[in-house]
């Protein structure tokens, strides 16, 4: 038995080394190499190694993590090893979610390859509508917001105050729509074929705290880190200090997972710090609430918490989006410059989106928020079915022609999904 366990451990280590080795080679070698070179040069040590000039395989972080989850689950006896190589290969390379998730657990996805999928009209329809919604979010919202965001973030030194605030808020929605649209299209496409993928986003900008945000944002990655990193590190079972340290490790690694740059590390670290502060100050905050007799269930208080959480998330996104660390510092220094009048003097329309494009951007964001508010207690796809065919089809056709007319494609600059790079 011991020999068997050793063998299992050996294969797990091999699997981890190979998977993480490939990921490291493609994604992190140059980052660590550059960082080490900078460190050596700081201490005047004459040593430098050259960079590797290779293309980063699209979505490598996603399928590496999915492959790792299989190895670890088998090692932990959570699932039976898959003996059919084709099915395993399909699990790792299942095309709808291959390049940007959701990161599926082997125990959820693998068994679905053994089920015979029957034609289900309603399921296919639901899948197609979800894909349509995904296209709307990507082509109409995300890519339109990207025009303004890119203008500002690619030359932040030309901007101050309100402009930087608007660009940062727009980026928050851009990245959400960009990433969640891919997820919607992936889930929808899988659904059309009879497969169920896990939910990856649950109205994250309506979160009332940072921990809640992480339970609603990129859910599959959060769950992966929780299960395969946070718990093995000890989770919250080894005292407050260790819990906080574990949180910081998970978020810094999560930052690194997104990209090999100090900006991503700081972004992850910032979210870690938010969480640590939130958990350590919980007791004091509760006392304050009781002392000032604040009703935590009131709409006003909820709204305040949602806005505060959103602001914290937007602050962190600045590091995520800025091209360099220097840019991030500049943006933070100039974010609070008071030049509110630029909203009214028309200069806001010189940032890539003219007045009409800006109106479409804001209007489409209102559609997004209305949809999410409606989704809180309803299911729009099910509710649509209660309408007669004329209304339903008008809705579908309006959505399709909305995408065709107002979508950013064709003569506009071609854009990829942001998360393809991760």
């Amino acid at each position: 038995m011991g020999k068997y366990n050793n063998k299992k451990r050996l294969f797990l280590v091999l699997s981890l080394l190979i998977n993480l080795g490939i990921l490291f080679f493609f994604k992190y070698f140059n980052f660590f190499n550059d960082s080490l070179n900078s460190l050596y040069s700081y201490f005047n040590i004459d040593w430098s190694s050259s960079r590797i000039d290779v293309l980063l395989p699209v979505g490598i972080s996603f399928y590496t993590f999915q492959a790792l989850s299989y190895s670890i689950d088998v090692y932990r006896n959570n699932i039976e090893p898959e003996k059919h190589f084709g099915k395993y290969a399909l699990f790792v390379s299942f095309f709808p979610q291959l390049v940007a998730g959701p990161i599926e657990k082997s125990k959820d996805l693998l068994p679905q390859f053994n089920i015979k999928h029957k034609f289900d009209y309603d399921r296919i329809k639901e899948g197609l509508i979800l894909m349509l919604w995904g296209f709307f979010k990507k082509v109409v919202i995300a890519d339109r917001l990207a025009v303004l965001v890119n203008t500002v973030y690619n030359s932040p030194e030309n901007h101050q105050g309100v402009t930087l605030v608007i660009a940062s808020v727009f980026f928050a929605f851009q990245i959400y729509c960009d990433f969640s649209s891919y997820t919607d299209i992936a889930i929808g496409a899988a659904k059309v074929m009879g497969f169920n993928l896990r939910k990856n986003f649950d109205r994250p900008y309506f979160s009332k705290s940072i921990p809640e945000f992480w339970r609603r944002w990129h859910i599959s990655l959060g769950a992966w880190f929780k299960e395969y990193l946070y718990f093995p590190l000890g989770g919250n079972r080894k005292g407050k200090l260790r819990t906080n340290l574990n949180i910081m490790i998970v978020f810094i690694v999560s930052g690194l997972w997104h990209g090999a740059s100090w900006n991503f590390v700081i972004w992850g670290g910032l979210h870690g710090i938010y969480q640590v502060i939130e958990t350590t100050t919980y007791g004091y905050r509760t006392k304050m609430v009781e002392r000032f007799n604040i009703d935590r269930t009131s709409v006003g208080h909820k709204f305040y918490r949602i806005m505060l959480t959103f602001m914290l998330v937007v602050f962190a996104w600045v590091f995520f989006r800025a091209n360099t660390l220097t840019d991030s510092v500049y943006i933070f220094k100039n974010l609070f410059v008071f030049n509110f009048w630029t909203i009214f003097d028309g200069s806001i329309f010189n940032l890539g989106l003219d007045k009409n494009e800006f109106i479409v951007a804001v209007f489409s964001l209102l559609i997004l928020l209305s949809y999410e508010i409606y989704e809180r207690k309803n299911n729009i796809f099910k509710d649509l079915n209660s309408f007669n065919i004329a209304i339903r089809w008008s809705f579908y056709l309006a959505a399709i022609f909305g995408i065709i007319l107002f979508g950013i494609y064709g003569d506009y600059e071609k854009s990829q999904f942001i998360y393809f790079q991760f």
Binding site: F119, Y121, I124, K125, D354, N356, E357, W393, Y396, L397, I400, F401, I404, L405, F406, G407, Y409, G410, D411, Y412
Partner: protein
């Protein structure tokens, strides 16, 4: 299952049907030159196919007047050989010309860029030929562009962003108000060259005897065009207008390709005419160009005078004589009925006994015409003398909006300022004074106001006789 398939079919038909129909609104109307082939009611005798070299040099009205045959230009910017092939194929569904002039400059490439493809195919109605053309332009060798294909078939996908401020009333009414434009767009601007550019003209291109093998795709499309001509009993002339380009696909390349064709494709249907070899014969000067590729009104006049005679000399017996049908006048009568945007009685005297009694402006599609009615036939000569001796110069400023009246759209944009055209006889005591391009700048496609002025050079440039401001 059947229910779903049915629904998908219906929704697909609705989506593509509505997208296709609404494309006509979103299309850029200045790229619809090819659409004129569907508006051609009369028989066509001579068809010119090629690039902007053709529509800036070949004057359909002039040639019709000279040859008594019906002329039409199926020319689009930077047209390449595959586009020529599909446009001819589509044209032959409607009309059967006797003589086809195919510009050899189109041998330069097989597939053009996005703008070139749309310029050629946006005016084409949806048909199997158009789908083949779009496929050829989008999936060829290393090009594999589904978006290009779908936007060529359904142009809404290309022009959807015109919702943002570009659509005008004209876009909604265009197809209801469109009348035939035979395709010529002769620029009236002066040359941008200086006499030092003459060296290109002086170079004796007839010394080029080398042959350059055609790219196999280009050769196969050329052969396909020859086959279409054979099937439809059309005489083919491989021709080139004069141009000065000495970079990219130069005149030299074009002549070498033509030499190769002459030596390899033996076919009695084919004739050759290269104006680049006739510089001295027709006295082409640097002032005859607006740029290195395009003739202006002066150059066009020389080319068309020679071409008219050349057609009569080589094909007179082959072409029908339509003088009795007076299609040339019919065409202009129709224009006078439908396309007058301005008509004003006047008693404007340039000097002495020369009176302009009426000025009429016709404008449709890309062309504008100014027709001047003089007080009698005798004065046509006087007027012609005035203009050709530079004693009288006409200046027209068109501008898009009343508030922009001080903005003269000229030189860079509207290129009609202060030119000295040759005058073409028209019927009676009217004559066609000028042909203008109404294309001004990329943003201004349709002018609304004009300021119409004569300069009498003898009294000095400062002495301006402003005839009137007109609101079109």
């Amino acid at each position: 299952m059947i229910k779903l398939v049915l629904k998908i079919v219906v929704i697909t038909i609705i989506i593509f049907g509505v997208s296709y129909l609404s494309s006509s609104i979103f299309l850029k109307k200045e790229l619809l030159r090819a659409h004129n082939m569907y508006l051609l009611e009369d028989e066509n005798d001579i068809l010119f196919v090629g690039s902007s070299h053709v529509f800036t040099a070949i004057d359909a009205d002039f040639l019709e007047n000279r040859t008594n045959a019906n002329v039409f230009l199926l020319a689009t910017p930077s047209q390449n050989i595959s586009q020529s092939y599909y446009l001819i194929k589509e044209f032959l569904k409607h009309k059967k010309p006797k003589l086809l002039f195919l510009e050899t400059y189109s041998l330069k490439e097989y597939v053009g860029d996005d703008f070139v493809s749309h310029s050629a195919y946006d005016g084409m109605k949806l048909s199997k030929t158009k789908i083949e053309a779009a496929y050829d332009a989008s999936f060829h060798d290393s090009i594999n562009d589904l978006y290009s294909f779908s936007s060529l078939v359904i142009p809404l996908f290309k022009y959807h962003n015109r919702w943002n401020g570009e659509l005008t009333k004209q876009d909604f009414e265009y197809f209801d108000n469109t009348y035939l434009n035979k395709g010529s767009e002769i620029p009236t601007a002066n040359s941008e060259f200086t006499p030092t550019d003459l060296e290109f003209i002086d170079y004796d291109l007839s010394k080029i005897n080398e042959k350059t093998v055609l790219n196999p795709d280009i050769e196969s499309k050329l052969k396909a065009i020859i086959q279409l001509c054979e099937q439809n009993n059309i005489k083919l002339v491989l021709f080139s207008t004069p141009y000065l380009a000495h970079h990219g696909y130069s005149v030299g390349n074009q002549i070498k390709n033509t030499n190769y064709i002459k030596s390899t494709i033996k076919n009695e249907l084919i004739n050759y005419l290269d104006f680049n070899l006739l510089y001295k014969e027709i006295d082409i000067r640097y002032t005859d160009y607006i740029d290195s590729h395009h003739m202006n009104y002066n150059g066009s006049k020389k080319v068309n005078t020679y071409l008219g005679e050349w057609i009569l000399k080589n094909y007179k017996t082959y072409l029908p004589d339509r003088e009795s049908e007076k299609l040339w006048y019919k065409y202009f009568d129709k224009k006078l009925t439908n396309e007058v945007v301005f008509e004003k009685e006047t008693h404007f005297s340039t000097h002495d006994s020369l009176f302009i009694e009426k000025i009429t402006i016709l404008k449709k599609g890309a062309d504008s015409y100014i027709i001047i009615d003089l007080n009698d036939d005798l004065n046509i000569k006087k007027f012609t003398d005035e203009v050709s001796s530079d004693a009288l110069r006409m200046m027209v400023h068109f501008y898009p909006d009343e508030k922009d009246s001080d903005k003269i759209i000229s030189k860079e944009g509207f290129i009609n300022q202060d030119f000295k055209p040759d005058i073409m006889d028209f019927k009676g005591n009217k004559f066609l004074f000028s042909k203008l391009e109404n294309k001004t700048t990329a943003e201004i496609n349709f002018y609304k106001f004009a300021n119409f002025t004569f300069y009498t050079a003898s009294k000095g440039r400062g002495n301006v006789l402003t005839l009137f401001d007109l609101k079109l």
